[in-house]
């Protein structure tokens, strides 16, 4: 048999005879590419596929979502070519998701804006003129100075969507505080506000971390950790590893078969907003069948289950039994549609497997009374002993950066109370009611800002009721002057008076501090991989500039300086080599640090709780420093007590349990005790039941024959509103057909692919039907990423104004093949209604009607 070599020889001979075209004219690199002898590395280097030359590596941090994974950007000829995992990160362990890698698209988005833009036509008309930064900042500074001089700095409202770590400290803690406005909005309530509130009511501050590396069983209520999560890839890749390598069982309750449900051992469909019934029934089974594992019984010592903080374990169990008695599995079946025997079986399995990670996210939370679902889950984790233990539900740890605080003398900030919803609407607006801000401003009784500036935020697109958002943002009588800080011409920026072009996250500095899935904090930074394009600027630099113009220098001139100073001020980072080390390596963790578990068990030394200004609250049996609260005197503090002194939680020192004082579960935002509070006196005082309880969702109680419940969800390759300009992501996911169960579809004569109309009290959208058994009957599920009407040509087909945009030659613009179906945005349908306890936007409660428009 003649082999290829002989052919080649034949060819060579023939070529020398001038007869054949040999491979000599061929791509030389393909010929010379040798075979590497050693093992192949998983990263740390990168080569051009064209020239085979090595590229320059710049360690930095992703910002496609709040997870903010460390990563490495690779640069060739001054161009960011690729984003790769940071192999030295203990959080990501050298992994990244699709979104992270598509970050390259932000920098070279042909529709990113490069110059400050000043509106010239009517607001929203789309007529702009280019202004110099000087002009733009002078105008803002003048307006802000005027407000400050008039004694109303609070009429400058700053509203951010995603602002974390150093940017948050610089802008919020330093710049805005030095200026004197406390009218600062965020977006947590359209994210997971009620989850944080529930945690603040039970174990103190967020985040919760799930210890998949050490767990034996995973029970998931409505978290789609494989597709979207606040700590997505760092946690998700550990979950995948646990499921395959340790063959763990995982059970997922969800309205729809998410990818997480799909990778679980079992998907258990549940009706929207009824997870809480299942959770309570599981608690019922575990308590009534006396299945509480010994770890759970022991943990009860650190739980508050009755009004009396000193109750014995037996009393606590009795209280649990009494409270849970009505929540039987049969009752839960009637509400949730989950068979009672299934609930019993899973409850028993959970009780028998320790440790177990009990996890949740937006599924159970984004409903009326969503706080209760998360509190119930905390209870389930507590009684099974799965709180803050290896393998359980943990209090997450992140790095503690030190940073320059700016000028010492800061004025007392004024506040327009527009961020916490209407009076009495939300019991615990700890994380604001941001979805209601526009309504409150329009209503006007808390005053209206004269300058409304937003940063990394998309008020029009991201909140419910897009129509109203657009109306309000357009209305100069409601918001007389608006400034958008953004790299992109999105739906909201299009309605601004002034647009300040921001550098993308790949062109700027930050120190970063997201929590670690392995309970060991990791310090990391973001640095410019390429210089900011055009006239775009890091907003951190802009606020320094703005402060100078207002005659209130902040003590540093750039974000880079702020980050450098922070590196030198933070002991662990300084010891590692400070700023220079971080620039070279990107990430740092102290190899000596042990994972943090059982933080509540730390005993407080007597010197701490007997210190000056620390007083003992007899009723709550805890020590606190009255001076850190708003109490005017020690006497007042003692008289009012811990519970009723404003900001008393800030002075919390420790909880006396038995004869010891423990760190316990440190309160945050509310004056709860140092116990893990299953029983919440705070809830009781607001007129709710103190123990986690079921409250029916009003709109779902009397559904008409045609009514369906709208559920929204996220997919793995898009963030809610900010990634659709990334062509590599939008190519994968650009249309969001409505998932509808075959039974539900058949009743409406709808077949797969049909055009349908979805109507709610707020409006209607037209989209395609995806008829699939992967969703509960009676529900229509629409992801919330599509249907942009601005945000550039990849996202919407609508270009940014030509004279301001990058205008890079991008042949892919002519290859957009999804122009005929860019999906529909469900937020047009969803009213801005908050959870009455936590203020969370009730994304998944909307009642809609669905009808067929045209056959496929």
């Amino acid at each position: 048999m003649t082999n290829r070599r002989d052919f080649l020889k034949l060819g060579a001979i023939a070529a020398s005879a001038g007869l054949l075209g040999s491979r000599a004219r061929a791509d030389a690199r393909l010929q010379s590419a040798g075979v590497h002898a050693g093992p192949l590395l998983h990263g740390g280097k990168d080569f051009s596929p064209i020239t085979y030359e090595e590229r320059k590596a710049v360690p930095s941090a992703c910002y496609q979502c709040v997870t903010r994974c460390p990563m490495v950007g690779y640069v060739e000829n001054g161009r960011l070519e690729k984003i790769s995992p940071q192999m030295n990160s203990i959080r990501t362990e050298g992994t990244l998701c699709a979104k992270a890698q598509a970050g390259v698209n932000h920098v070279y988005d042909p529709d990113r804006i490069l110059y400050p833009m000043r509106r010239v036509g009517k607001r929203g008309e789309g007529k702009w003129k280019r202004v110099r930064w000087d002009e733009a900042l002078d105008e803002i500074a003048e307006r802000l100075k005027k407000l400050r001089d008039a004694g109303t700095p609070e009429k400058f409202m700053f509203h951010y969507g995603r602002m974390k770590s150093s940017t948050s400290k610089m802008v919020k803690s330093v710049f805005l505080a030095t200026y004197g406005t406390g009218t600062i909005g965020d977006h947590t309530s359209i994210c997971e506000g009620s989850k944080w509130v529930a945690q603040e009511l039970s174990w103190g501050g967020h985040y919760d971390n799930w210890d998949f590396d050490n767990t034996q069983f995973i029970l998931n209520f409505g978290s789609n950790v494989f597709e979207a999560h606040t700590n997505h890839t760092p946690v998700a890749h550990r979950l995948a590893r646990a499921l395959v390598e340790r063959n763990l069982r995982m059970i997922t309750f969800d309205v729809r078969l998410s990818n997480t449900a799909a990778k679980s051992s079992e998907w258990i469909p549940v009706k929207p907003g009824t997870d809480i019934a299942v959770i309570l029934a599981m608690c019922n089974v575990i308590v009534n069948e006396d299945l509480m594992p010994v770890e759970g019984r022991e943990f009860l010592r650190f739980c508050r289950v009755t009004r009396d903080v000193g109750a014995t374990t037996e009393e606590k169990i009795a209280a649990l039994k009494a409270h849970l008695a009505e929540y039987t599995p049969e009752w839960a079946e009637g509400i949730s549609g989950v068979p009672a025997e299934k609930i019993v079986a899973i409850a028993r399995e959970l009780a028998s497997k320790h440790p177990a990670a009990i996890i949740s996210y937006r599924g159970p939370i984004t409903h009326a009374f969503g706080v209760e679902a998360e509190r119930a889950l905390q209870m389930l984790a507590a009684i099974t002993g799965n709180i803050d233990n290896p393998g359980g539900r943990l209090k997450a740890v992140g790095p503690k950066w030190k940073y320059p605080k700016g000028p010492k003398d800061k004025p007392k900030s004024g506040v327009l109370e527009v961020t916490k919803g209407f009076e009495g609407q939300v019991a615990f607006p700890n994380h604001h009611v941001s979805n209601q801000i526009f309504d409150v401003i329009r209503e006007g009784s808390f005053g209206r800002p004269e300058v409304y500036m937003w940063y990394k935020y998309q008020p029009v697109y991201s909140n419910g009721d897009c129509k109203a958002n657009e109306e309000i943002l357009k209305d100069e009588s409601i918001l007389p002057f608006t400034v958008a800080v953004t790299p992109f011409y999105d739906e909201s920026a299009a309605l601004a008076d002034l647009i300040l072009p921001e550098a993308t996250y790949l062109e700027r500095w930050d120190w970063e501090d997201m929590v670690s899935p392995n309970q060991v904090p990791e310090y990391y930074i973001r640095q410019p991989i390429v210089p900011p394009m055009g006239e775009t600027r890091d907003f951190g630099d802009v606020v320094c500039d703005l402060a100078e113009r207002m005659g209130m220098p902040l003590g540093f001139k750039t974000k880079e300086e702020f980050v450098r100073l922070s590196c030198e001020m933070t002991p662990e980072v300084k010891a590692a080599g400070g700023f220079e080390y971080m620039k070279t390596h990107g990430v740092y963790h102290n190899p000596q640090t042990k994972p943090v578990y059982y933080s509540y068990l730390r005993e407080i030394p007597e010197s701490d709780y007997k210190a000056e200004d620390v007083i003992y609250d007899v009723r709550e049996q805890l020590y606190w420093n009255w001076k850190k609260s708003k109490a005017r005197s020690r006497e007042e503090a003692l008289e009012k007590g811990y519970m009723h002194t404003k900001n008393a939680y800030k002075g919390y020192v420790g909880q006396r349990i038995g004869d010891k004082v423990y760190r316990g579960f440190v309160p945050d935002k509310v004056n709860k005790t140092g116990y893990m509070e299953i029983y919440s006196e705070l809830m009781e005082e607001k007129g709710f039941k103190p123990m986690p309880s079921y409250y029916p969702i009003p709109e779902h109680q009397e559904l008409g024959k045609d009514d369906l419940i709208l559920t929204t969800f996220k997919v793995n390759v898009q963030s809610h509103s900010r990634t659709q300009n990334c062509k590599w992501l939008t190519e994968i996911y650009h249309a969001n057909p409505a998932w509808i169960n075959p039974e539900t579809a058949a009743a409406r004569g709808i077949a797969n692919g049909d055009l349908i109309k979805v109507k709610s009290e707020k409006g209607e959208i037209t989209t395609k039907a995806r008829v699939t058994p992967a969703v509960v009957p009676g529900v229509v599920a629409i992801s919330n990423h599509c249907g942009h009407w601005k945000y550039g040509r990849y996202a919407s087909g609508s270009a940014a104004p030509e004279e301001f945009r990058l205008n890079e030659k991008d042949p892919d613009l002519d290859r957009i093949w999804w122009s005929d179906d860019r999906g529909a945005h469900p937020n047009w349908l969803i009213p801005n209604k908050p959870d009455p306890i936590g203020g969370e936007q009730r994304w998944n409660d909307t009642v809609v009607k669905v009808e067929k428009v045209a056959a496929a």
Binding site: P49, A262, A774, W817
Partner: protein, 252 residues
């Protein structure tokens, strides 16, 4: 399905041989066959294969985008992607993920059809490559691939496909998709090395290859893959939906 690293013993259909002979390529057939095996016979150092552990894949598309970024693949085409297979009857519904890429077959149907020799299987490592300076763009190889892996690159105007990231692999790095996969579902290595992870995985797991009936002898092995096709009908359920997220979704 394969149970070990032994090659599946699938002979081509007799009439295919007949069809080939009609070309007058009977002579070539007598000479042929050497191309595929030469990587081993020629004393090559490596036999690169990829093992895809579908159990680990959670469909996050990191590989898809990593590959796009690596090669700036024009919109509308992919060198690698992840398919989703959803099937069942409510509430017993499953969804599984199937990462796809060139199989770098031992019997690559794309190589012999090439009229210029632009595409060939490298002796030294078994990677099937395309020489972009030689390809005339006749599209024969695109038609010949039973895995729809080849496409016409609108930028280079040549056939294009996965090349196991030869610029990385030849310089000591894992392929881009392997580096990118957050769940380590893609494992790449040398099958000639009995101690390599791929050798170990293939030896100790039930592995399968795609469309074994085509006799292509793929070098991409799957663990726990769902081979259901859109048109497969099962007695116990009627719903099968295969999503590829590619422009031409029906092609696999």
């Amino acid at each position: 399905m394969k149970d070990s690293n032994s090659k599946p013993d699938i002979s081509r259909r007799a009439f295919l041989g007949g069809g080939a002979a009609v070309t007058g390529a009977g002579a070539a057939a007598a000479l042929g066959g050497g191309v595929a095996n030469s990587a081993v016979e020629g004393g090559a150092k490596k036999h690169y294969v990829m093992v895809i552990d579908a159990r680990r894949c959670y469909g996050v598309q990191a590989c898809t985008v990593a590959c796009k970024a690596e090669y700036k693949v024009p919109l509308g085409e992919n060198r690698s992607w992840v398919e989703e297979i959803e099937k069942g009857n409510y509430p017993n519904v499953t969804r599984s993920f199937l990462p796809r890429l060139c199989n770098h077959c031992d019997e690559p149907p794309c190589v012999p059809v090439c009229p210029t020799g632009a595409t060939f299987k490298r002796d030294e490592d078994g990677i099937v490559v395309i020489d972009k300076d030689v390809c005339i763009g006749c599209k024969s190889c695109i038609q010949a691939c039973p895995y729809d892996q080849r496409f016409l690159n609108e930028d280079t105007h040549t056939a294009d496909k996965c090349d196991f990231c030869i610029h990385r692999v030849s310089q000591g790095l894992q392929p881009a998709c392997v580096e990118a996969c957050p769940s380590r579902a893609r494992i790449f290595g040398d099958l000639n090395d009995p101690d390599s992870e791929v050798s170990r995985l293939i030896a100790t797991n039930k592995v399968s290859v795609l469309r074994p009936g085509y006799g292509t002898e793929p070098n991409v092995y799957y663990i726990g893959a769902d081979h259901t096709g859109e048109n497969d009908h099962y007695a116990e359920f009627s719903y099968v939906d295969v999503k590829t997220n590619r422009r031409f979704a029906e092609r696999r």
